[in-house]
Structures are given as structure tokens and as C-alpha cells.
Symmetry: C2
Subunit: 415 residues, 2 copies
């Protein structure tokens, strides 16, 4: 009988609708209908769905075809009697997005096309303890150049690159990424100048944020609100609420690794005590034992746990409980009912999930009447690089008209 | 040189812009310009600001005047030579919003007009331990009726009521409000049927959320993102991010009172251990000592602290530290840089703030380079009831056209 009001503050005054913006509005309207359609959609269906006239649809479709944003995909039946019609769908040629990731175990590059299909995925093992940011980003720039050249032979044009890094980011500046030994590294500028394709805009973002976006896209909109927790050398979280990444005021949300679990606990390099990081990072789970040459920290932890190593199992027990306590606080604050365990936590989830669930059931106030789901993430260790590539192509999905008129994208181009 | 991309998922397909909705769009556009203007604005200025023609402006202004949404406010100069013009501003007559609050110390009612001015504010002391929800809501309905009658003599029409309650809300249902002894109370339906003005829609919302909205409006948009923490018999938080209340997926965000501070700490009635509630509620600060008759828990705690009572000062020390630990986790998750201490925490802030700051400086990862502001809230104990009334009137601010054509508001009317 009563429904709650969902107020929002008054919108800012906007411009009135004028003729030239109507043209863009209608083009983007048609494009979004093609984007949202599960199957190829005919011009007739587009006219019915949008309420636009058939000549307007014809003109817009010609523009989208010429710009390689859409393609004709054979004949389709629209459910009524009559001859089959030509179906329209997103193009696998034309604009593409590049993603780059600096992972605990190495460097990754990914290209996706406008349909969201991964067209290129490359990985190269790397360590960071002995190398400076410039050297690491130089290697990554070579992978970017190789990806752009390869994909160019398939009629795809990379329009923008997004770099994933494990720490809070400020514009192109990485404020603090202890697992790489970075502090105030201008990764955006360094990468931008090292890539040979000089006009390519480069954005930098937090890897947990980008991985969460990767999971959001990969779920095909079946997940609307969730917390993605990225385990590894660093622990971070990406928050998706109502289909949108919640970045916070400066893009630094989800610093779960430095949420306090035990106020008087182990000192953390960040200067605090009892941070989740000190109980549940890969370093904590490995207990300071060296990782054998030729393997990765993830693989070592999994192998030891599989072999029933008592110290590793005890460390995973502690890690799962600590992760559950920190996550409970997060869920009490955010009111989100789904947790995806990503990165190392995905690989180790069979040893972590039970303790995480126990803590959440005990400590999330609303769990008494509204249960919380905890499960491994879908994309595994590639979530961030795929999310980065999808974030790049999303520029075109959001503003197809900008691609057609060759407008500058929402990143500052090289001077 | 590089700016970050702020992606968002593809928008759902919308309807194209048609003639009849253009009329509403332009009316609301003009209204929002009047709403946003710091001073009365002339028809000429409106035409320049909106890009609409003078005859269109004239027609829309007539509609808004006839509907008592705006009023003429004397002559104004628009900065150029020539004769002064008639200024237009929001009306203090016409639609009004009603707010109702069940506070730790009593019941409150508030009416605001479209300008956001408080036109009526009433308070009646009340206790809850010995009375059921129906009796409390019956008293509150009498206060609502009195407010509606009083304000009616000033040419104001209450369009909707919003009730603030200390706990998570599900539609009109209060899931759990331990400080009132309520569990699964359909406060919306009970209040709706007890108010004599039978057609009045009633919404129910969490008091910390509404208080945060009150602070947002009261700041005149100088505060864009902040955490409002409400102290008292229960502890809750309202989160405002980019000028919007962040409600979570079901409206249950900000359950700060049940965030874990010490995992092995004091048992909490919620079933968990070491919740912030067990260290920083008024009950914890008063240490179980009875509150003298004729005074309130807030006043008792303040008086004891002022008198230098050692037990109270020690309890405030513990409360401030616990609050700082819980808030640090919240700020690490949300990336918000301003905390407003509200409710009892506002009254007690001089004994709490130093410890809160110490914990935040130590435990918020980004505080090392981006300091956090902690200060008392502006509206004091009236924040929630004023926020509730402003939430009610915001229905009209958001959809002025609905008021003009007498469309139903976004709440389900009485059958």
C-alpha cells in the first residue's frame, strides 16, 4: 500500500532540446536499441521500438553502417507474417578498446571490439622488486604496440587504452602501490609517451574497479549490485551499485585491504595496525616462505593447501575469518547482497568461503532476514585487463556520435 | 595531461522526444532555472538562460504562477541598462511537505514550503518502553493532523508525509528498531490510517538517511559528499555521494551501529559481538545508570561529562575511539572526506572528536595525503524531521508538472 519515496536532489538546469541535438539524441537512441537487442534487429523493429519514422531510421542506419559501428547480419523474422527482413547488429570491425594490467605475476594486454568480444589477450611473466616503474611501463608499451598492430590487420582501430594498477589513482598518477614499490608514479604519462601510437589517449584506474566492471559486463546485466574483492599481493574491492561503479569522491573507494580487523593487531606497512592486508594478503597466507622459482605466489599457496600443509591451512583459516569480518563491515555500510571473490581469492575460495560466510551471517545486521551470496568471480585473473579493455570501448558505446564525427573522446589527447 | 575515464554502463533505450513531453520538459526546465537561481529571475533572463522563445516563457510562467509554484517578487535589474523587470521566485504558498520523526526523546513534526523554509516545527516528549507501535503512531498522527490544519490557514497544502524511524525500512515496514522495541512494524500503514487527512500519502525512511538529506539541503549545496553519523539509543549513518543519498540496494545502507570494532568484544543484542553500538550508544556512554526523571539521556550524558564524572569521561573516551575505528573502515570503503557528527554525537562532539580524528588519521589509507574533516552536524536533533519534510516537498521540486496536472505522486494513494 505504501511505497518509499526515492528522492534525489534537484537536477541542474539543462539546455532545452534543439534541432541539432535531436539528431544526435535520435542516432544514439537507435544505437542503444541495437546495443540492447539480444538478436539482430530489423529497421522495421527499430522504427516500432523507437517511435521514429522509417525515413529517419533509414538515414541513421546508413550513418551507423558507414561508420562501421553496426553491420548487416543476414535475414531475420520479426514474429509476424511477411518476408524476412535484414537484421542489424553491432560491428566486429571499427573501433576497439585496449586494456593493460600490471598483475602480481606479470603484464597483460587485451583488446575488445564493440560487441565486447575479446579479440586479443596476451600475458608476459614479470617481477617488480628489482625494476623501476619506467622499465615496467616500457615493457607494457611494447605489448600495447604489438596488440594495436595485430588487431589493425583485422580492421579494428584502438581508440583508447586503460591501464589497471593495484592502488589508488589520481588522474594518471598512482598514489601508492606498495606491491610494486610505487609511490606517486605518473603511470599515465610514462605509458603514454612509451607507446609508439602517439595519439592514443591513456587512462589509468584501480585494478579492483576495472575487474568489477569486467565482471559486470561478463554477467550480461544479470548482476546489478555486487562487491568484487580482489585478493593477491594487495587486497582491493570494486563496488557496483545499480549497475554503476561506485568510485567515491576521488576514485579511491574500496580500500578494503586497509580496513581494520583487529584494532590492536599486527602493524601494517601503511602505518596502521590490524589491517585486513596483514591477515589475508598472499604474503600473509604464504607466511613469509619463499616462492619457488618458476612458479607464482598464487600457484604456491594453492599447491600447499591442496597438499594439506598445516601452516597454510591455518593461515587460510585466519585469512577467511579476517576477510569475513572486514566484508561484514563493508556490507553493513553499503547494503549490497552479493560478494564475488576475485584474483587469488577466487583460486583459494574453497578454503575461504565457509569462514567468510560464518562471519557475514553473524555480523551483517540485515543478513538475519536477507541472506548474502558469496561466490568466486567469473573471469579469474583476467578480470581487470578485460574490464580495462571494456572500459576503453565503453567510450564509444556511450557516445557513438563522437566516433562518427571524429570528436575528441573524454580524455585529453597528446599535445 | 591525462584524465581518467569515468565509464558507466550503457543506458537503457529510452523513448524519443515527442511533442507532448517537450511541453513538460520545457516547463520543468524553466522551473529548475527558477529553483537554482540565487535571486529572483526575470522572464527575459529565463529566455536567455533556457534558449526558449519569449512567448513560450510567458505561457510557462503563467502556468507556474496559477499553480502557486512560483510568485512575482518585485522588480529586478538584470545587469543591463533599461527598465527593471519583474522577478520570479519560488512560492511560499501552495504545496508543502510534512516530516515526522520518532526520536529517542520524543515525537517531532515539521512542515516546509517549496522554498525549503521551515513553516511549522513541533515536539512532544515521549517514551517507548511501555507503549506499543500503534499508540506511538496514533500520537504522531494527531501531531500530523495539527500541523496540516495549522499550515492550511497559511494557504499551504501538505502533499505527502515522510516518517523517520531508527532502523532499516522495507517499504512502509520497519524491519528492526530495537531502541523502540519494534520488529516488522508496518509503520506506513498504521500511520496512514491514523491520520485524519485520508488522502495523504505516507512514506517511511531511515532517520539517518533523512537527517543526511536535511544536512545536504541545509548546506545549500556547499557539501556534496559526506557521511552523517547519527548517535543516540541507536547509531546509524546516512551517506551522501555527489549530492545523492546512497541508499544501497534495499535502502539499508549505513548500518554503522553494527559494524564490528572488536571481533571478540561485548555481545550485542543483534547476535554479533563487538558492534560499535556496544561501545558508543547512549546506553553504553551512560553505563547503565538510570536517567533521572524529567530529563533525557542526551542531557544526562552531557551534564555528567561537563561535571567531569570520571566514569562518563572514560566511557566517552572508549566511545570516541570505537567510533573512529568504525568510521575509518567506512571511509576506506567509500572514499568520502567529510564526517558530520549528528544526534547525540553532535552534543557530545567536544569529548569525541579528538579520538575520532586520531583513529581516522591512523587507519584511513588515503588520509596520509588527503586529510579528512570531522565536525558536528548543522541541524542538531531536528535534522531528521527537517530532512523528512524536505524529502516530502522534493517530490514537487522534482516533478512540478505533476502538481499542476494533479497527477498522482510517486507513492501509492489510499484505496
Amino acid at each position: 500500500m505504501i511505497t518509499p519515496i526515492r528522492p534525489s536532489s534537484p537536477r541542474k538546469p539543462e539546455e532545452p532540446v534543439r534541432q541539432e541535438s535531436l539528431r544526435t539524441i535520435n542516432l544514439e537512441l537507435v544505437f542503444r536499441h541495437i546495443l540492447a537487442a539480444a538478436n539482430p534487429i530489423s529497421r522495421t523493429e527499430l522504427a516500432a521500438a523507437t517511435g521514429l519514422t522509417r525515413p529517419t531510421i533509414t538515414r541513421i542506419v546508413e550513418e551507423l553502417l558507414a561508420g562501421r559501428l553496426i553491420t548487416e547480419a543476414g535475414l531475420t523474422h520479426d514474429g509476424r507474417a511477411g518476408r524476412p527482413r535484414v537484421g542489424l547488429t553491432l560491428s566486429g570491425k571499427g573501433p576497439a578498446g585496449l586494456g593493460l594490467d600490471i598483475r602480481a605475476d606479470g603484464l597483460a594486454a587485451c583488446v575488445v571490439d564493440l560487441t565486447g568480444t575479446v579479440r586479443h589477450l596476451a600475458f608476459a611473466p614479470s617481477t617488480y622488486a628489482d625494476r623501476d616503474a619506467g622499465a615496467v611501463l616500457f615493457d607494457l608499451a611494447r605489448m600495447a604496440d604489438a596488440a594495436i598492430d595485430t588487431i589493425g590487420t583485422e580492421d579494428l582501430t584502438v581508440v583508447t587504452a586503460t591501464l589497471a594498477v593495484p592502488g589508488p589513482v589520481d588522474g594518471g598518477l598512482v598514489r601508492s602501490a606498495p606491491s610494486l614499490g610505487w609511490r606517486n608514479v605518473d603511470a599515465g604519462a610514462l605509458l603514454h609517451s612509451a607507446i609508439q601510437h602517439l595519439e592514443l589517449p591513456v587512462a589509468v584506474d584501480n585494478e579492483a574497479n576495472l575487474a568489477a566492471l569486467g565482471e559486470l559486463y561478463a554477467s550480461h546485466n544479470t548482476l546489478n549490485s555486487f562487491v568484487y574483492v580482489s585478493g593477491g599481493l594487495a587486497i582491493g574491492a570494486g563496488i557496483v551499485l545499480d549497475g554503476q561503479l561506485m568510485r567515491g569522491t576521488r576514485g579511491w573507494s574500496g580500500e578494503l585491504g586497509h580496513v581494520t580487523v583487529h584494532p590492536d593487531g599486527t602493524p601494517c606497512p601503511c602505518g596502521s595496525r590490524g589491517c585486513l592486508q596483514t591477515y589475508a594478503s598472499l604474503e600473509a597466507i604464504l607466511g613469509g616462505d619463499p616462492v619457488p622459482a618458476g612458479t607464482t605466489p598464487d600457484a604456491t599457496a594453492t599447491a600447499r593447501a591442496d597438499a594439506g600443509d598445516p601452516a597454510t591451512l591455518a593461515a587460510l583459516d585466519t585469512a577467511g575469518t579476517a576477510l569475513g569480518i572486514a566484508l561484514s563491515g563493508m556490507l553493513n555500510i553499503l547494503d549490497i547482497d552479493t560478494v564475488l571473490l576475485g584474483g587469488s581469492f577466487a583460486l583459494l575460495s574453497s578454503w575461504l568461503t565457509a569462514n567468510v560466510r560464518t562471519q557475514i551471517d553473524r555480523r551483517v545486521h540485515t543478513a538475519a532476514w536477507a541472506p548474502i551470496t558469496v561466490r568466486p568471480a567469473l573471469l579469474g585473473p583476467d578480470a581487470a585487463v578485460i574490464g580495462a579493455a571494456l572500459t576503453s570501448i565503453d567510450q564509444i558505446r556511450q557516445r557513438p556520435a563522437a566516433w562518427l564525427v571524429d570528436e575528441p573522446l573524454d580524455v585529453v589527447p597528446k599535445p
